[in-house]
Amino acid sequence: VVQLPSLAIRFPPISSACCPHLGWCRMAQAGPACSIAVIGSASQPLYLRSFPGALTGKEAMDSQAAYRIHLVAHCALDSLEEKVLQKRVGEPADCFLGLLYPTEEHKVYGYLTNSGIKLLAVLDNAVVKDEAVRVLLKRVHAAYAHLASNPFFIFGAPLSSSKFDAAVETAVTAFGR
């Protein structure tokens, strides 16, 4: 396992307690490989889950790839903040921020809620419509809002709820179709 010390600045060391879902989901889905990350208002990671696509399959299932996605999500936070500052001028601000930045292997889309929660969708380089990603992130937001209404929910703690997992899975499957 390669140590990535720069991640410790913003993200705590990756452990199963911090991100119980850091890993590959066993179900393959048609469409692009997709990772969903939920970042809290203090830039702490709350949830990170990856769904391999139809094209990647079993060869891509290694823990290195999971760390790579984590790094990509971390770097995307900077461009998310830049994009938020850019959008201040002019038209009413939307929660969905669109494509943040494309790298060689991934495309990252961002979504910022009113309460400072950031949602990131890391997709591989298949052709996707912005509208479909917007719908996907809106659904993840709806699932998060539903989870936050739980009286036992702790704001700022990593998300661990089977209903939330199921909702994210449904949203990603619908996105893949």
Partner: protein
């Protein structure tokens, strides 16, 4: 057509988020008022009435409620910008969501203090004064305690939207009351 219907239902479910049924469950408003009153009574009897501990309990309870309500209510709204927009959102949209009326008067000294006045605060409407309200001390204490929960809700909502502040309330002639928001 059956498949289409199923797909439509699925779409609806996805949009509304996970829930057991699509019909919202309603509750009579008097239950909420009784619950608020009972919460005040419970916390003031557990600790000495009027002590800071009782106030802190009610305030933290309200803060949590405020955070969760704001999380749900801002879900479909476009992003709010600076502090003034957030305060306007609280006055014009969040207040009707909670109390079914807008804030009647908003004043600011442009140095971080906002005063929101509600001429007929819903949760104070059921309190019956025994004499002229200004002279009735027990009444004043009760009103002050009843306002702790709404203050907490307001503070939780504002802090969750990014406006760190303290909120006080005072009511010289219930049910008219004013909430003072002081930015930190």
């Amino acid at each position: 057509p059956q498949q289409q219907q199923q797909q439509q239902q699925q779409q609806q479910q996805l949009q509304q988020g996970p829930s057991k049924s699509t019909v919202p469950r309603l509750c009579s408003e008097v239950c909420l008022e009784l619950l608020a009153g009972e919460a005040v009574r419970h916390f003031s009897e557990g600790h000495a009435a009027g002590s800071p501990a009782a106030a802190a309990c009610l305030d933290s309870m309200g803060a949590r409620i405020g955070r969760q309500l704001v999380e749900r209510h801002t879900r479909d709204r476009p992003r709010l910008g600076d502090t003034m927009e957030i305060i306007k959102y609280i006055c014009k949209e969040f207040w009707p969501f909670l109390f079914k009326r807008t804030i009647d008067n908003l004043r600011t000294n442009h140095r971080g203090v906002f005063v929101m006045q509600d001429n007929s605060f819903r949760w104070l409407q059921r309190l019956a004064p025994r004499g002229p309200p200004a002279q009735d001390e027990a009444m004043q204490k009760l009103v002050a305690q009843q306002l702790l929960l709404p203050c907490g809700i307001l503070r939780g909502a504002l802090c969750h939207l990014g406006v760190i502040c303290t909120v006080d309330a005072e009511s010289s002639a219930p049910p008219r009351c004013s909430f003072t928001v002081r930015l930190q």
